[in-house]
């Protein structure tokens, strides 16, 4: 990696469409923030500083999903300038809650329902999509918001040139580590089995079912989870809505193919 005269890696932090929760979390790392600024040369971070430079970068951390034409251009530009692009937060990784609608038609209908027939002046809205719909992403750091410790250790590994090490299994694993009684077995619709771990199963620790906010796990067995919830008496639309909430475009595939479901 090229280093500037301070011999520090150049980093840019960008927010697209999202709640900026992840950027806030980064700001919230008060003590560690000093370390971050010491370890790296932050070239651009709208939320934290004003003298942002848009030049070549070693690492770009991108938060939020792409939901306008302007953002589409922006993300392509970031990719061009950055050697390594890291998607941070559920929105950037999987589209997040804005990408919950399953196909273009449904999205249009919904957009009309909410905004009527207004024309957007500044920039044309496009369906909200995860950034890897437009560019190659090197590393993903999901979460809603991201977990502080995981963010710091991931950033640290990337700064040292090592790929991040994230859990590749589902929330259930952490849930068992925390010795929770499984909610699915009590007929509560928990999405833990199809959701990526990393949150520390925080919802279930508080007796709430997992809603999937870390996005789908690599090997999500959506079919089995779907059928299990059907057996427990939840209806098709309820399950579809629940699953689509955070996992965004990824779930569309499954429901698109689910033509032959028997009652």
């Amino acid at each position: 990696m090229t280093k500037n005269n301070n011999n520090k890696l150049k980093i840019g932090i960008y927010e697209l469409t999202g709640c900026a929760g992840d950027a806030l979390l980064i700001l919230d790392c008060e003590k560690e923030l000093v370390d971050i600024f010491q370890a790296a040369d932050i070239q651009s971070f709208l939320m934290a500083k004003s003298d942002n430079i848009d030049g070549e970068l070693d690492i770009a951390l991108v938060e939020g999903s792409v939901s306008t034409e302007k953002e589409k251009k922006e993300i392509l530009d970031i990719r061009k300038r950055a050697k390594t692009v890291v998607a941070i937060g559920i929105c950037a990784c999987f589209g997040g809650i804005q990408a919950a609608f399953l196909d273009e038609k449904e999205w249009e209908a919904n957009f009309k329902e909410v905004y009527g027939n207004i024309k957007m002046k500044h920039t044309k809205p496009v369906q909200s999509k995860p950034i890897d719909e437009y560019i190659k992403v090197d590393y993903y750091l999901p979460g809603c918001p991201i977990d502080k410790e995981q963010f710091l250790s991931t950033l640290n590994r990337i700064l040292r040139g090592n790929p991040p090490e994230l859990y590749r299994f589902s929330v259930c694993v952490e849930c068992k580590w925390n010795e929770n009684d499984c909610l699915l077995n009590k007929d509560i619709p928990c999405l833990g089995p199809i959701t990526r771990a990393g949150c520390g199963s925080i919802c279930i620790n508080h007796n709430l079912p997992c809603v999937g906010c870390w996005g789908p796990v690599e090997e999500a067995n959506i079919a089995s989870e779907f059928q299990l919830l059907r057996e427990k008496g939840f209806d098709h639309d309820f399950i579809k809505k629940k699953m689509a909430n955070f996992s965004g475009t990824g779930m569309a595939d499954f429901f698109g193919k689910l033509k032959g479901e028997k009652g």
Partner: protein, 286 residues
């Protein structure tokens, strides 16, 4: 009791020993050679291994991974490895320079049964990175040349530039007491003077062998095993004299983490060297 300053009564098999990279250079585009020395002199000399065993190498912050030892115990003090760049640990290793420190622990695994192989004919077939463990046996046989009968080597690579230890093997070709045939799948240099074709095409070049007193060793990419073993069987080499080393995911190397398990066999303890007989009798092996 205070947990932190407790005296431990058993030694910790997970604790890496600091070792220094003495020499490192590229063998091919994505394979590097590493020569390392355990820093503590006593420990360096007491690192007793046998060909076919492996060690766990670690880089602080990047992790730990298993690598075959490719030097020979007949030349103690220095350990040698050839490592292909594929992921976290190997990338970190590739960034390291001579004199840098790494962690090492081992040796682990069963290794080749050199005692049983004594006074027998040795036939070694390697492809690609399979050279790593088999170079150890080969050098061991050559260093103790009077303990073995005929030693033959068939070595295949995709292209000349991908032949690991190319120069070393060309030099070995000159030895009278070693039968050595080299092949590449394809020659993109136009200067290759040896055979062209996959490694199995070298079998007809072998001088006649005495199967019942031959140990046949193979290591290479997974696709190679089936075809090479077929040749061994054709030559009538007994199944329990056909030896191969297998790869599995390994996180501890000492039979604890479970990752290398096949049925109730732990590849890190009972392997990585298996006989063809083992393979036939165990599901999942290859």
């Amino acid at each position: 009791m205070n947990g932190e300053n407790k005296q431990l009564t058993i030694s910790n098999p997970f604790l890496p020993e600091p070792a220094r990279i003495v020499r490192t250079y590229y063998l091919t585009e994505d394979v590097k050679f590493f020569q390392v020395r355990v820093v503590d002199m006593d420990k360096a000399l007491s690192f007793k291994y046998c060909p076919g065993q492996f060690a766990m190498i670690s880089v602080v912050g990047a992790g730990e991974a298993p690598f075959s030892i490719s030097s020979t115990p007949s030349r103690p003090g220095l350990l040698e490895f050839c490592i292909r760049k594929v992921g976290g640990v190997t990338n970190a290793l590739f960034r390291m320079k001579e004199n840098d420190l790494i962690g090492i622990r081992g040796p682990y695994g069963n290794g080749f049964p050199v005692e049983r192989m004594r006074d027998k004919d040795i036939l070694i077939v390697v492809g690609g990175l399979g050279t790593a463990p088999l170079r150890s046996v080969l050098l061991y046989c050559l260093d103790n040349r009077d303990q073995f009968r005929r030693v033959s080597l068939l070595h295949g690579a995709k292209r000349p530039s991908e032949m690991i230890f190319r120069e070393e093997f060309f030099a070995l070709k000159e030895r009278e007491d070693l039968e050595c045939h080299l092949a590449v799948d394809g020659d993109d240099t136009g200067t290759w003077t040896e055979n062209i074709g996959v490694v199995t095409t070298l079998f007809p070049k072998l001088k006649e062998i005495d199967p019942s007193s031959t140990y046949a060793l193979v290591c290479g990419p997974p696709v190679m095993y089936k075809f090479v073993i077929k040749e061994f069987v054709k030559l009538n080499i007994p199944k329990d004299q056909i030896l191969m080393t297998l790869e599995r995911r390994m996180k501890c190397g000492v039979g604890k983490c479970g990752h290398c398990a096949i049925d109730y066999i732990y590849t890190c303890l009972d392997g990585p060297v298996f006989t063809y007989w083992d393979v036939i009798h165990m599901r999942e092996l290859i």
